[in-house]
């Protein structure tokens, strides 16, 4: 029984670690999309941030410096997206796709030119990474049944970004529902004309939303490169930006449901890794690919309107044209 509990806790703990970049990216996408700017480019921004963070950590040896580099890179890309979508009124999906492709190529080209390791960055020393934090009392409580493993495995022992990601969700919720900025942000995603009529800059609000999106994807990328892993490897996001996009839609563009979706998708991923090659009664060997495909399949089913209805912000994807 005890062993089962530990396995369960380990799986949940892995879920949390897998879900962290998804949560950050989903909240990032949420800010952007609630303001009316579609963001297909979560994947690209995260990847670019991961590369920048790993490169700076490898050269500078500081995790916090790396975090700064990751955020700066993602913010720069977010501003480019903003410039294309808000100022130039270009096609938002096209811009996002361009950034994704650009990031996937640029990270490899620069990685090989700078580090000569086939697109990887050098392996990082623990000082240059965000390492798991062991909370006080974890060792002392270890022998207490249930509570000990619960505290030691699930609560303690993650790195600082995991906890930060969990804090970002209530912060996002609070920002969107309780602050003046958040209310205006949502208004600009639903009815920009009204916001404009009230004398508030539509472009200004959208730029701020896009900046927040860059900030959060920057943290997500940094997490991938220097917290979850010890360096950058090519295409290391491996579709997580898209899964986060799916989670955000699955959560119907709301923070807590999106968190739930991220945790669900994270759990599926953690379970898929755990079930690799395991034979289960009746089903036989579990096809891992099936579990990995579930987030995508579930999102399609949701979008088809079979699990409630996911309604996007009304003005999403429509560039705002001021009337004269």
């Amino acid at each position: 029984m005890d062993e089962a509990l530990v396995i369960l806790l380990l799986t949940l703990s892995a879920t949390l670690r897998v879900a962290t970049p998804l949560i950050l990216c989903a909240m990032a996408g949420l800010f952007s999309e609630r303001s009316g700017v579609i963001d297909i480019g979560l994947e690209g921004k995260t990847l670019a941030a991961a590369f920048a963070a790993a490169a700076v950590a490898a050269v500078g040896g500081s995790a916090w410096l790396a975090l700064g580099a990751g955020i700066l890179t993602a913010v720069a890309m977010a501003l480019l997206h903003g410039y294309a979508c808000i100022t130039q009124r270009g096609n938002q999906v096209v811009s996002g796709v361009a950034l994704n492709i650009l990031a996937s190529g640029l990270t490899v080209v620069l990685g090989i030119a700078w580090f000569q390791r086939g697109g990887q960055t050098p392996n990082l020393m623990p000082e240059a990474r965000f390492m798991p934090l062991n909370w006080p009392g974890a060792a002392a409580l270890a022998d207490v049944p249930v509570l000990g493993p619960l505290y030691g495995v699930l609560v303690s022992g993650h790195n600082v970004i995991v906890y930060a990601a969990l804090l970002v969700v209530p912060l996002t919720h609070w920002t969107l529902t309780a602050t003046r900025f958040g209310l205006r942000l949502r208004a600009v995603g639903e009815n920009p004309q009204a916001v404009d009529t009230a004398g508030i800059s539509v472009a200004g609000l959208r730029y701020r939303a896009v900046l927040l999106c860059g900030l959060l994807t920057g943290i997500a990328g940094t997490y991938l490169a220097i917290a979850q892993n010890a360096g950058f490897s090519r295409d290391m996001t491996a579709g997580q930006g898209y899964i986060a996009l799916a989670a955000m839609i699955f959560g119907k563009w709301r923070p807590y449901p999106a968190l739930g979706a991220c945790l669900l998708f994270g759990l599926l991923d953690a379970a898929a890794i755990r079930l690799q090659g395991v034979r289960v009664a009746v089903i036989g060997e579990v096809p891992v690919q099936l579990i990995q495909a579930l987030p995508y399949a579930l999102t399609v089913i949701l979008l088809a309107g079979f699990i409630g209805r996911a309604v996007a912000p009304r003005a999403i994807g429509v560039p705002y044209m001021k009337e004269h």
Partner: protein, 369 residues
Amino acid sequence: MRGALPRWIDVGLVPLANVLIAFAIAGLLVLMIGENPLRALRIMLAGALVGGEAVGYTLYYTTNFVFTGLAVALAFHAGLFNIGGEGQAYIGGLGVGLLALAGDGTLPFWLLLPLGLVVSAAFGAGWALVPAYLQAYRGSHIVITTIMFNFLAAALMVYLLVNVLIAPGSMSPESREFAHAAHLPFMHDVLARLGLKVANTPLNMSVLAAAVACVFVWVYVWHTPWGYELRTVGHSERAAVYAGIRPQRVIVATLCMSGALAGFVGFNEIMGVHHRLLLNFTAGYGFTGIAVALMGRNHPVGVVLASLLFGVLTQGGAELAFEIPTITKEMIVVIQGLVILFSGALAHLSRPWFERLYAARPRPAAEGA
């Protein structure tokens, strides 16, 4: 004033300027890496265009880009953004592979050839059908659903190749090689029969299918009633309804055709080159199709020109990576991204410059007097 430019600037110079900006930035990147961009360009062009082998490879890549570029372009005309070319090409290849594995022992070549064409189109279209239906009838966004379907296709292919279709005794997830009846003839073999000797390359008969596909799209979009309906829906769905068009049907038909075009990549790759089913043969062609369509302004002629350019870039880039190891072939991916950015999302960036230039042109004396 938008639209104050004559057509030759609007259709000719502005897109050209956009592409040039993209290439200039790529050149700067090469400079930043510490290499000479002009030398890189020379190696690239020579590697892609000099000699029969180079040209054969270039045209082989071009074939794939024409298929995916047309797929994206066709959907764009109906106002739809099909990002799912990658998945549709993958599944198109699966269809061809299944056909060949099932029929290469019993069916003759002259039957397998047209069947392969039909099956790759059908599977590609089939993979687009669900997103198409959901877009048309349930209002779910085609961009998101086709992205999801790309991942679903990838998962399905891994599952099938690892667990079901893997050749007995094989270590890598690949099917057995098809019998000769299911091989598409290489162009060098075809030309040899006609008495022309050219270098051995992967270029095969599907390049002819690509040419036919271009003509088909041109005729379909601009010279048939269905094409008229398609473009009407693309301009305004509401106007289309008033014109007695049913947008839902047009959307489903267009996206399925788009999927079929992407599916032909599978025909080229599986039946024409690899002669077995394997993983990741689509190699990003579906995404390049977006760049091709944007650069070619969604017109078959433009698509062919843009595909040729990307064919040159892909083949020349491989040579370049060989000659200058610090410049990897991912440089092409960077250029792709830049082209999509500047020909797509930032397409209007250079317009004001041309408008100012055009407004400041020397006018006939009579006007000034």
